[in-house]
């Protein structure tokens, strides 16, 4: 007796193809980045990284990510709660609307924000009369980053919370728990891994976002340049080692994110085994 899909030849062929393709398209570029970044030695790499403008870009990128995460976290949990625990007219439409940031090209998102909040924009001109400028400064970068990353947490939570249902929450309330106690002691522990996973994805996207940010930031060196924008500028200036040094930093963040994600998945699978 042989199981379906167990033909040895096909299996080996598929595994081989998968390995070759991943090496070619995923592993090789990654190695190339680090090879290029260190091509002129550790010292040059360090010089490029410790350059004032690069340091500022790193700082700005991390700040944006740190500000984006809590906003997306609260937004995502609230939205997932709303969609999975209440039934109201327009619920399905809302669930579709959540995906708009995924569906729209980030550049388009950036342009829309520029149109709305730029100095001549609808809301921007009104803000300008109070001397508030959002575009071409960090608040603008933060706004588009939030726009681009806001679905991640909700998207992770909705299917999970739908599958779990509200029975445990109902049980908590019949036992006298207040709304907040129920959330803290029953809901949150049940969704914590998905929540963390959503945060990791949000972080990865916030750090790496290029398209939307490039439209609204103005890319002023030492002022509104994030790491991906800085990288591009260095590359345009024929500073290959500098550009690849930045690329290596971004790749490092990506690798750390992946490691954290794998760790979480392992942890979640482990937890599931007995809880």
């Amino acid at each position: 007796m042989r199981r379906i899909g167990d033909a040895p030849l096909i299996r080996r062929l598929l595994i081989g193809a998968a390995l070759v393709l991943s090496a070619l398209f995923l592993l090789l570029p990654l190695v190339a980045i680090f090879a290029q970044a260190f091509s002129q030695g550790m010292l040059v790499f360090w010089e490029n990284v410790s350059n004032t403008f690069t340091l500022h870009a790193i700082g700005l990128t991390l700040m944006i990510a740190l500000l984006t995460i809590p906003v997306c976290l609260v937004f995502g949990v609230a939205l997932a709660w709303l969609v999975t625990r209440f039934s109201f007219p327009g619920r399905r439409i809302l669930q579709t609307l959540i995906d708009i940031p995924f569906a729209v090209s980030p550049v388009v998102a950036g342009l829309i924000y520029l149109l709305l909040y730029g100095r001549n924009g609808w809301i921007g001109s009104w803000l300008d009369s109070y001397d508030i400028q959002l575009m071409f400064s960090w608040p603008g970068i933060l706004m588009v980053t939030i726009f681009v990353t806001c679905p991640f947490v909700a998207r992770e939570l909705i299917p999970l919370m739908q599958a779990q249902g509200s029975r445990e929450e109902e049980a908590a309330v019949t036992l006298g728990a207040s709304g907040w106690t129920m959330f803290r002691r029953v809901t949150l522990p049940n969704i914590r891994w998905a929540l963390l996973y959503g945060v990791i994805l949000t972080n990865a996207r916030a750090v790496g976002e290029f398209g939307a940010v490039s439209v609204v930031s103005g890319a002023i060196r030492g002022k509104t340049n994030t790491l991906p924008l800085h990288l591009e500028q260095l590359y345009q200036d024929y500073n290959a080692v500098g550009a690849f040094a930045c690329a290596a930093l971004l790749a490092l963040i990506a690798l750390l994110t992946l490691a954290a994600k794998a760790g979480l998945e392992w942890r979640a699978a482990h937890q599931e085994a007995f809880a």
């Binding site: 109902e170 309330v173 019949t174 036992l175 006298g176 106690t181 049940n190 007995f274």
Partner: protein, 364 residues
């Protein structure tokens, strides 16, 4: 704590889940809500608990616990214990923490000391015979054990009303039997008022002081199991409480005929439908002058206190079921394909006054 429902109705969108219902449950009673799925029994239970709101349109709708009007009291303040069909244990908490939950969420003023909580949880776990599993997680327990934890958790806050939603529905027959007996014992010992939902008539009849039979969002009958079985108020109740055999035919001059079958019966002329339970059918090898109802045995199931025999005939729209004592079964040497004659010992007739009953008879 007695429970009194006055004029409680419920709509979900345009569908009416409950017609306006009145129900009195006495202090210390164990009441079963029995009905097929979609009859509104779970909705009714959830309304008593406060997990569902009754229709606001019916202003007169009221729920009273004793003298306390709880219609607008939030579920967390109603002081009820609720046991869910699939246990709804907190998966990330140990058995101990599950049971302790209701005590640890009390406001600081009312919360017992941590030592007292520990003592009380251990007492409860001892009562449900799960003390040795206090540190396990729900997923490590069997279904029956999980349901016992869920009961202990509900009892920890000392509710005056215990509500159970299909408490044994997901368990296998043997565990179910054991838990039923245990719940009855618990109920008698602690003297709370309990309401449970079930679709299993045997469970309802065995466990309840009184049974509320529901269908289509209506209460069909409220009675003790004994009265319910002996004096069903309508055809639905009779059919829902056990297996039923139908005998349909035309009566002329005191003889009911149906195909080549006939039977002397004291009924007015016209079309008649009679209903009888399997144990009300007697089987013999010869017809009598009173009755001639030839049947053929198509299946025999010798499991249980009595042998169940399935009967078919040309004149029957649906097969009949008869129960035979094991001694008679051996004595008559019954076998599949054997031809016999049926004699109704006792029967019932529900005149088709309601349109619903008439509809059912057409289906049959």
């Amino acid at each position: 704590m007695s429970i009194r429902l006055q004029n409680i109705a419920k709509h979900f969108g345009n569908t009416q889940a409950l017609e306006p219902i009145n129900l009195d449950i006495h202090q210390g009673e164990l009441v079963g809500l029995l009905g097929p799925s979609g009859s509104g029994k779970t909705t009714l239970l959830r309304i008593i608990a406060g997990l569902e709101n009754p229709d606001l349109a019916t202003q007169s709708g009221k729920i009273l616990f004793g003298d306390r009007d709880v219609t607008n009291v939030h579920v967390r303040d109603r002081r009820i214990g609720f046991v869910f069909q699939h246990y709804a244990l907190f998966h990330h908490m140990s058995v101990y923490d599950n049971v302790a939950f209701g005590l640890t969420v009390l406001s600081r003023k009312r919360r017992p000391s941590s030592g007292e909580i520990r003592a009380r949880v251990h007492r409860l776990l001892e009562m449900v015979k799960l003390e040795h599993l206090a540190n396990r997680y729900p997923a490590q327990l069997s279904g029956g054990q999980q349901q016992r934890v869920s009961l202990a958790r509900a009892l920890a806050v000392e509710p005056e009303v215990l509500l159970l939603d299909e408490p044994f529905g997901a368990l296998d027959a043997k565990v179910r039997q054991e838990l039923r007996r245990w719940l009855r014992h618990l109920h008698d010992e602690f003297n709370f008022t309990s309401v449970f939902v079930t679709h299993d008539q045997e469970e309802a009849l065995e466990l309840s002081d009184r049974v509320v039979v529901m269908s289509d969002g209506r209460i069909e009958q409220i009675d003790t199991p004994d009265e319910l079985y002996r004096e069903p108020k309508n055809r639905f109740v009779f059919e829902f409480l056990g297996d039923v055999n139908h005998l349909e035919g035309k009566v002329t001059n005191g003889v009911l005929t149906c195909g080549d079958a006939y039977w002397h019966v004291d009924l007015p002329d016209g079309h008649q439908e009679l209903l009888l339970r399997p144990h009300e059918v007697r089987l013999t090898e010869q017809p009598t002058s009173e009755s001639h109802l030839p049947v053929t045995i198509t299946a025999i199931s010798p499991v249980g206190a009595e042998v169940r025999v399935e009967l078919e005939a040309d004149w029957l729209a649906q097969p009949w079921l008869a129960t035979v004592r094991h001694t008679d079964f051996e004595h008559m040497a019954l076998r599949r394909g054997q031809r016999l004659y049926a004699h109704p010992r006792h029967w019932r007739r529900f005149p088709e006054t309601e349109s619903k009953t008439a509809e059912q008879s057409r289906v049959a």
